[in-house]
């Protein structure tokens, strides 16, 4: 009896095991979720190629979103226009937002830290919290009419999409850049000033050089966010699947096509399956962005 008690697990250990179990169950749920998402979207998205026998290469390299079947039951459907628009809108947005984000980050970290932290940073954080439909609405009611008046056309298109996305990812890139500039060891700044550097020399030759890799990561995060944004872009891009001929011709992105059409197509048919293939492409590209960030972080650690 006494021996039993000696070797029995104490209440503390039992309690601990329960707690540990609960926690590991939670993580398992999360892992399961990731696996299920990838599995479901892939199994749906691959049906275009396995069931509807669309050629993978022609799907990725032709621009005509033609969902009708020909006499032999073959379809000639291509997503190149969507992929092109997605990339060009995103890159244009990043090109506009990145320099501005860096300038704000430099201002907040190196030039006016007190005012920056008290005032500029909260404003950026507020902008970060504004829902994407609000940006879309502004794009639709303010930006599109302005573009229509200045450049002609309908106003819808890559330019409107890119401007809205730039505004949206500006706070993302800015707050990540602020973090990376702050992580520069302050003693380096002091060394630079001791050597007689001006503010700008210190910023350009010391701060930006040291945090270059982290700034790169900030930009990639911004690009990833822009690439996956659906509603704001959908509201201003025009939603006609065609190769963009200019910055103001209406077109469509992967996300906007998904948003508009997934509810209007019948489950299991080619038009529907092809949309899931778009979702799969989107999923793979976001995972690729993730890997790129991983690569950069690892490179940073090695140094």
């Amino acid at each position: 009896m006494k021996e039993d008690k000696l070797f029995a697990r104490s209440k503390e250990i039992r309690q601990d095991n329960w707690g540990r179990l609960l926690c590991y169950i939670s993580v398992t749920i999360l892992l399961l979720l990731v696996v299920t998402i990838v599995y479901f979207i892939s199994s749906k998205g691959l049906q275009t190629f396995t069931k509807n026998h669309v050629n993978v290469w022609s799907f990725l390299t032709t621009a005509d979103w033609n969902t009708s079947l020909d006499a032999h039951g073959h379809a000639d459907i291509g997503a190149l226009a969507l992929i092109t628009t997605s990339f060009s809108t995103t890159m244009l947005a990043a090109a506009m937002a990145t320099p501005l984000a860096f300038v704000i980050a430099i201002y907040v970290v190196a030039l006016k830290p007190k005012f920056g932290q008290r005032f500029v940073q909260p404003v950026i954080e507020l902008l970060l919290g504004i829902p994407s439909v609000v940006y879309g609405f502004i794009g639709l009611t303010v930006l599109v009419p302005i573009i229509r008046g200045r450049f002609g056309g309908t106003g819808f298109g890559i330019l409107a999409g890119a401007l809205i996305l730039a505004l949206m990812i500006l706070p993302t890139i800015t707050s990540l850049s602020i973090e990376s500039l702050r992580s520069v060891d302050p003693s380096y700044q002091k060394f630079a000033y001791t050597l007689g550097c001006t503010h700008w020399q210190m910023i350009y030759h010391v701060m930006l050089r040291i945090s270059a890799k982290k700034l790169m990561i900030a930009v990639i995060y911004g690009i990833a966010r822009a690439f996956g944004e659906a509603l704001a872009v959908q509201m201003v891009i025009g939603n006609t699947v065609q190769m963009p001929t200019s910055l103001v011709s209406p077109t469509a992105t992967l996300t906007s096509k998904l948003t508009t059409d997934i509810g209007n197509t019948i489950d299991g048919t080619l038009p529907n399956n092809a949309l899931w293939t778009l979702a799969l492409i989107l999923l793979l590209i976001s995972l690729a962005f993730n890997l790129i960030v991983k690569g950069f972080t690892r490179g940073g650690e090695a140094k």
Binding site: R20, S26, L30, L31, I41, V103, E125, I130, P131, G228
Partner: protein
């Protein structure tokens, strides 16, 4: 003396650009608030959208979904964060799980919404409903909430755990009685910030919670009735989805007024969440350390 001139020029340029951007942002937010202000009235907030401009049901749906989402996601996120930062610290399992969570948090919200549509609406046949929406929002919220809770727990000094172990109490006891209370300020501001994101999310909801808001009866407490405000199986359009919908369907003259008013409500709520997160974490921090 060339470098001094460069320095002066660069700094001047930076000041000008930052000033211009801040002014632009101020105009942007001011424009939104001023434009929508005239729409907002007591009846805007308390009538159903079938009867005119009102957003009563959308406002309730947003809050209802937010509460359900937080109830669903907080326990799982907390458990995962404890497993990753304490029990599984530096293990290979935790490293893999962290990678998965990072991947999940980088997925576009439309992908989460489509997955929710596929799993909940098509496979489980729950339909466009509050429940589907809350689960989809939970998927959307989990990775970020887990990350912010992990971060809050990681700021607690490791010595707390060592002290607990040396006193002979279980890790679980130390976690619940010492570490979590100390991590509370960080955790709360993480929760409130994620609440702001959930409140404004639309892409994850249009194909899960649906795009229609049936008129609700706020005195019907029977959750199985179709018009009961508590019924989890009815479609539930939120404020953010409402803005998207009235603008893409082109419902004419009212669309702009409705959107502008709704935007003011959304922005003010999110601003309140931001301020609340700041205040709470500051106040709780004072309580613990003084």
């Amino acid at each position: 003396m060339n470098r001094y001139r460069t320095d002066k020029f660069a700094r001047g340029l930076i000041y000008t650009i930052v000033g211009a951007i801040i002014a632009l942002i101020a105009i942007f937010i001011g424009y939104l608030l001023v434009q929508g202000w005239s729409t907002i009235s007591w009846s805007f907030l308390t009538t159903a959208s079938d009867d005119g401009l009102g957003i009563r049901d959308q406002l309730f749906n947003s809050l209802y979904l937010l509460i359900l989402t937080l109830l669903l996601s907080f326990p799982i996120a907390l458990g995962s964060a404890i497993a990753l930062t304490i029990y599984g610290k530096k293990s290979r399992f935790a490293a893999i799980a962290e990678m998965a969570i990072q991947a999940l948090s980088s997925l576009p919200s439309i992908i989460i919404g489509l997955f929710g549509f596929l799993l909940l609406v098509l496979k489980f046949k729950i339909g466009f409903s509050v429940l589907s929406g809350a689960i989809a929002l939970t998927f959307f919220n989990l990775p970020i909430l887990t990350q912010s809770i992990s971060l809050a727990i990681a700021t607690v000094p490791e010595a707390r755990m060592t002290a607990g172990v040396s006193l002979g109490v279980s890790k679980w006891h130390t976690i619940t009685k010492v570490i979590l209370p100390e991590a509370m300020p960080g955790m709360i501001s993480g929760i409130v910030l994620s609440a702001g994101r959930v409140f404004g999310e639309a892409a994850a909801l249009i194909y899960t919670a649906g795009q229609s808001a049936p008129k609700l009866d706020y005195f019907n407490w029977n959750i199985f009735d179709a018009n009961s405000f508590l019924n989890p199986l009815r479609p539930a359009e939120t404020l953010a989805v409402h803005i998207w919908k009235v603008n893409t369907e082109g419902l004419g003259a009212n669309a702009e007024a409705i959107s502008k008013g709704t935007i003011v409500i959304l922005i003010l709520t999110i601003l309140a969440f931001n301020l609340l997160a700041r205040q709470l974490s500051r106040r709780l921090q004072r309580k613990i350390y003084h």
